[in-house]
Assembly symmetry: C2
Homo-oligomer: 386 residues x 2
């Protein structure tokens, strides 16, 4: 390690059922190979099945929490650090994670007030091809899309595939995926693998080809209006556009056994895709997984984040939250690769950390520095520069 | 309905988490079309998502429990009726279900003492091709094998399929299925569908071809001894045979992420296939599903029926019980087809119920009649004719 090199710290994150860890032993080894030292809190990887011994073999130091915080220049985390961790960080220390700054103004203010340097992976310019290896929203959405299908299958009381046995033929399940981003496409692929007949829908016409290439049917609405927006996200639709689509979608929804909704607009209330009327028209035994369910609302009327409800007409409605934590090993491995790629990008030739505001990636992810909210979009969402 | 026709009754079975129903509306319609009348307890199909209205549309009468018991000549059930139901039946009434008479001598004695006619589908001569449509053990094992893979996937913290993304490549999960009967073959097929690399093992050499035809690798043991037994089941191995196999199997088990055990010998203690030593050699994050877990023991040392345990070395061990109840609609539909086929077989030309002891199928399933245990195998297991 050069004298200018920095040290990365990894903490255990057991709040809110989190089971992921920000660096797995493989990624820790990769980071160490590129220069920085790595310190890991004892047990940090345990809930994703990584042992302290594996981190030590990767060249990381395994210490208690206070020693990791004390020795680290940069803390890498999956979700936002809890209050006790924030209180124990010192001015100038860097924190990297999925901090959701647009929906957590209080956290951002606190990070700025404490003169912490906050870097949030969810603000990455996702359309830059050189940033793809750091795209944690994509890697975790991919995990969530896979997991959402397993959650649906777990609650569905019929076979997914067409099965022909001595006791007769069972029809394949019909699955509708609303929103064909990363999560939606992985959900389509997984439901297809399990043998379901799958349809996909998205307001962006460009999604048609991706949906079709996975062997699913693309749902065409006569009321369709392009919803392609900036930065690779779907744009928010107007109230009128939404209601015309909802009416037509409701009829499509009622024909399916399983509906998985994936429409999230970062920092905004998720659009309603499944209305109360659409739910009421579904058959008993149907399953709806709302991947957008959160404190901000969801894609399904009546869904509650973290809860499973059975409606009066027998539809099981699942407000799925933090699905990546339920595939903790794969989610941690892919997230850790994103973190390692970002750390590499931020490492100067002399081994120090370089935060160049003229670099498009750095400018995208840098939220607070030297007591200020430096990210224009976040500052604007908070009502002007801090 | 002819005056000699009989009436079939279907009760709600909510004991022990049961969610299946012995006849679904489709099968009820089929039964009614063949002659018998059908009475269904209100709500009996609700947990498998069949409504009273659907039964009525099929031509069945929907009544309260007492009226169904009072009006039915034959009660069809999934598992053994509870004590309250048994007490309310009258001499000469017929009960058809999966009664597991070999392991429930007290129940059999009680059925005989009350002069009930008990017919148990688990005693069907399974190798008779004309009995295949009545083979409820097979239809339910098929459901259980599918569900076991979903249970494993639910507890496994990595992707099943090989996935190549911007955040790197994830290796496919490796799944080992022990026992290649109906449940094992469906588990192999389902794990393959989900994208895992699958191996299968069975003591019967004939299973090799079936395992291979599903795209799985057949595990060869140098200590292999044929375990093919009578009636289509695996025979019970000697202690010595078992221990030689276990030693070699342990090494194979440790190389897999997921192990699903399916070895049941009806009415006997299930053979141990995964020893404590084999479990201890598995990697953290591995998952073992013991489909044989029951009050009689299981295929895995330390498994407990109905419980999920994490071992000291991080292996999640699931004692899976009544998996068909967790796919209640498909399980009920297939079971109901088996019941309808048996009812048809037992219906004479004049519409009456015919229990011909010279018929191979009838002789196989008939357990008690006119106050006696008439099934030789069951009588022998109980210590001689009653």
């Amino acid at each position: 390690m050069s004298t200018s090199g920095f040290t990365v710290g990894v903490l255990s994150e057991d709040a809110n059922g989190e089971r992921r860890v920000a660096l797995d032993p493989d990624a820790a080894k990769r980071v160490i190979g590129a220069g920085p030292a790595v310190l890991v809190e004892s047990g940090a990887g345990g809930r994703a099945w990584f042992s302290d011994e594996q981190y030590q073999q990767a060249g990381a130091g395994v210490l208690d929490r206070a020693a990791v915080i004390g020795g680290a220049d940069v803390i890498v985390s999956v979700s936002r650090p809890d209050d006790a961790v924030l209180d124990s960080l010192r001015a100038g220390q860097v924190i990297i994670g999925l901090l959701a700054p647009l929906t957590n103004p209080d956290l951002v203010r606190r990070l700025a007030d404490r003169s912490l340097t906050a870097i949030s992976l969810d603000q990455l310019p996702r359309t830059l091809s050189r940033a793809q290896g750091m795209d944690a929203l994509s890697s975790q959405a991919n995990v969530a899309g896979y997991r959402a299908v397993l959650v649906a299958a777990e609650h569905f009381d019929r076979f997914f595939p067409l099965l022909i046995t001595a006791a007769g033929t069972s029809k394949p399940a019909t699955v509708l995926v609303l929103g064909a981003g990363v999560a939606g496409l992985q959900a389509i692929g997984t439901a297809r693998r399990l043998g379901a007949v799958v349809s996909g829908y998205d307001v962006r016409p460009a999604a048609r080809e991706e949906v079709s290439s996975l062997g699913a049917k693309f749902v065409e609405l006569s009321t369709a209006i392009s919803g392609a927006g900036a930065g690779g996200y779907a744009r928010e639709l107007s109230e009128e556009e939404r209601s015309a689509q909802q009416a037509e979608l409701s009829a499509v929804i009622a024909r399916h056994d399983i509906v998985i909704t994936t429409a999230q607009v970062p920092g905004r209330t998720p659009p309603v895709l499944v209305t109360a009327q659409a739910l009421a028209a579904m058959r008993a035994g149907s399953v709806v997984v709302d991947m957008a369910a959160s404190a901000l609302g969801g894609n399904v009327v009546g869904s509650e984040a973290g809860r499973t409800i059975v409606t009066a007409n027998g539809v099981t409605l699942i407000g799925a939250t933090n699905l990546p934590a339920r595939l903790a090993t794969s989610a941690s491995q892919t997230y850790a690769r994103n973190v390692a790629a970002l750390l590499k990008h931020l490492t100067a030739e002399d081994g120090s950390m370089r935060l160049d505001p003229d670099d498009e990636i750095t400018a995208g992810v840098l939220i607070t520095r030297d007591g200020r909210v430096v990210h224009p979009g976040v500052a604007a969402a908070m009502g002007g520069p801090a």
